[in-house]
């Protein structure tokens, strides 16, 4: 039956995460953006919340609650707090969800316990490549079988790269098909160059060069079995769409509050139709976009193909986030252009959604 209300448990999770985002992420958004680094305390606090662990299999100490819809609710709230920090906080899922879904028992045993332990552990996934026409289902990074090894060659970018990162999944084309491989950060032939981007500056990312990186056959996600990486891509798009909604909502709420408080010509600027209607459109598009993200996530949870829905959702979400963030800067006027206020950061972050892929997973 058509319904748009989360379950009570989901509502509880959402509200908890909203509190966390409001108390822990939002105050650190600007300093972390300026310093271009994550905040260890936040990573620890998030780990204690068990946001990632909760979605992992109970057999490996997780909560066994893997749900793309729940994941979208969490992602929106965290991104509403701050996108860069949200992606950092959720980064363990980049390592965990592929293995939880498609990993061999050996791989699960190797990776999952470390992610549900007492200490936060970083995770990462390398999918995007530094090309304007990058095609996520036809990456140019290649994996060639050589005896009982795989040899990886290619380049990646937008790869979350925290100091303590030890393993990551690298997505490559194996005989034309998508495959992922577990790579040590200190693998021979792997070179990581720190990146600096317009946005998501709080999240340390790297550009990777892989030249003849040799891996054991067991490094392949699922081992001999095939993981459905297209489905994984759809999970990433639903999650990113939810993040975009969170960014848009944050910018919209700032604009709404500012418009009611800021006076010009003797009245709040919110009493001007040009501002008021802009805010009305923001609110409407944000709600519509959220529903698209939820629909894609719901299909994923139903085990249905969500390729199309995830594409519609992320396409719409990147347009909405950009338009709303830009509109928020406009509402703030001169104050929207200076870094004492957050709208300009939301604009920089929002623009990234047109190029992000699999920067977070649900």
């Amino acid at each position: 039956m058509i319904d748009f209300d989360p379950t009570d448990e989901q509502a509880l999770v959402r509200d908890t995460v909203r509190q966390f985002a409001s108390n822990e992420l939002r105050p650190r958004a600007r300093p972390c953006d300026e310093a271009s680094q994550l905040d260890r305390d936040v990573l620890g606090a998030a780990h204690e919340l068990g946001l990632v662990a909760n979605a992992l299999p109970e057999a490996y100490g997780g909560g066994g609650e893997l749900s793309a819809v729940t994941g979208c609710l969490i992602a929106e709230e965290l991104a509403w707090g701050d996108l860069g920090l949200a992606l950092g906080v959720l980064s363990p899922s980049l390592l965990a969800i592929p293995v939880a879904l498609y990993g061999s028992d050996e791989q699960k045993q190797l990776l999952l316990p470390g992610l549900v332990g007492a200490e936060p552990a970083a995770g990462s996934l390398a999918w995007v490549e530094p090309r304007f026409d990058f095609d996520p289902v036809r990456p140019q990074t290649t994996a060639k079988r050589d005896g009982d090894e795989y040899v990886l060659d290619g380049a990646k970018c937008f790869v979350p790269w925290q100091e303590d990162l030890s393993h990551l999944w690298v997505v490559a084309s194996e005989e034309g098909e998508l495959a992922a491989f577990l790579v040590d950060t200190d693998a021979a032939g792997l070179h990581a160059e720190p990146e600096s981007n317009m946005g998501i500056r709080a999240l340390p990312t790297a550009e990777l060069a892989l030249s003849s990186v040799r891996l054991p056959a067991s490094a392949r996600l699922g081992g001999a079995a095939d993981g459905d990486l297209r489905a994984l891509l759809a999970r990433g798009r639903a999650a990113l769409a939810a993040c975009a909604v969170g960014v848009a909502r944050a910018a919209y709420e700032l604009a709404l509050a500012y418009a009611k408080e800021r006076e010009a010509f003797g009245a709040p600027i919110a009493t001007k139709q040009a501002i008021a209607f802009k805010l009305a459109d923001m609110a409407t598009e944000i709600d519509g976009t959220r529903l698209l993200a939820w629909e894609a996530a719901w299909r994923i949870d139903q085990g249905l193909d969500a390729t199309r829905e995830a594409m519609l959702a992320i396409g719409k979400a990147q347009r909405t986030a950009l338009a709303v963030a830009d509109g928020a800067v406009q509402v703030f006027g001169g104050y929207g252009y200076i870094r004492d206020y957050l709208p300009e950061m939301h604009l920089r972050n929002a623009r990234g959604f047109a190029s992000f892929e699999a920067l977070t997973l649900v």
Binding site: D3, D135, A259, Q273, L291, L292, W298, M311
Partner: protein
Amino acid sequence: MGIDFQPTSNTEISRAHFNRIAHEQMRPISRKYDDQEHDLPTEWVDFWWNEGRKGAPVDVSQPTDGFVTVCIQAEELCFGDAGLYLRMPTPALGGSAVSAAGTNEQREEFLSAFRGSGHPIWGAMAITESSAGSDSAAIQATADFDEASREWVLNGTKIFCTAGEGASQVEGGFVVVWATVDKSAGRGGIKSFVVPARTPGMKLVGVEHKLGIRASDTATLVFEDCRVPESNLLGRRDVKKRDPKQSGDKGFKGAMATFDASRPIVAAMAVGVGRAALDFLKEELGRQGVTIRYDAPPRELTAIERDVIEMEAELQAARLLTWRAAKMISSGAPNSLEASMAKAKAGLAVTQITQKAVELLGPVGYSNKLLVEKWMRDAKINDIYEGTQQINQLIIARRILDYPSAMLR
């Protein structure tokens, strides 16, 4: 329950039922009644009266999606033809007003005939006046009470009255007329009255020639000393000087409430027209060998592919906003904000989608040989009636800003 995008089986039955009607009964005569503006689409009216109004063969032992199911019915029928949909013999908005604001006696008196075995009849609502478009407080039509005959005497002119010809001219139908019983009271003085078809003093002076939805009779009605019994007033008679939105006047509030209920339906109608154009576009492109790649990177898409994907996203966003507003009605949640969001979004989205569909089909899209150009003309009404785009933005803005209407006009 939890977030769920799966309609009930009854809704699917209903969708399939009305989709078949759209294809079999409506599409074949779409062009005919667009060309023959104002002709009564007899075959359609009779079909609806004899068959259509029986509704879909749902399993009454099973649940439906409530108001969402109603929206899906509207989407399917307007996927068929929006003009014919508005010409169906039903109580329409007039019925909603009677249901929302009327007494059981009034419901029985005015609505039973629509379930009866007589000839097809229509209901309508008459609000708009030439000097009062979006501004209901500016209504000039008057209703005076004649103590002697215990009748209400209506005077004034109403325009843009959908289904106004059928409702005013065909015995058994009725028009719900908004008029003021006390101009000094502003909104507080506005009441609604049921005027049965053919009541002396209610004159049909004309039907509009329109851009689209030409099968729909958009009428101008003049009321000259038009008398109806005291019992035809919907809601309370006494006048609240305060804005009745805050008062307990079931009449005005009821009438207003009908808009919160009707906006999702209008939005669903819009979605139906937009879907007609988008589905046809995709089919036609398919016939021309163009398929949409949903997994291609944005920078490798053709202009057409990206347009279609964006059109699909905007249409689905409008549909989901519509379902959300409808769902809230079923669960009894106040949905004025969400209803206006759905209406504003759907009206604009399908205006742009249908305009784009004509463009993408090139010369053939512009030709009357196809229905796409008609769908573009039909779609535009959704940006205008039941509150223009701007009026809905105003309602949304007031809600999100928590401003009284005085602060944002």
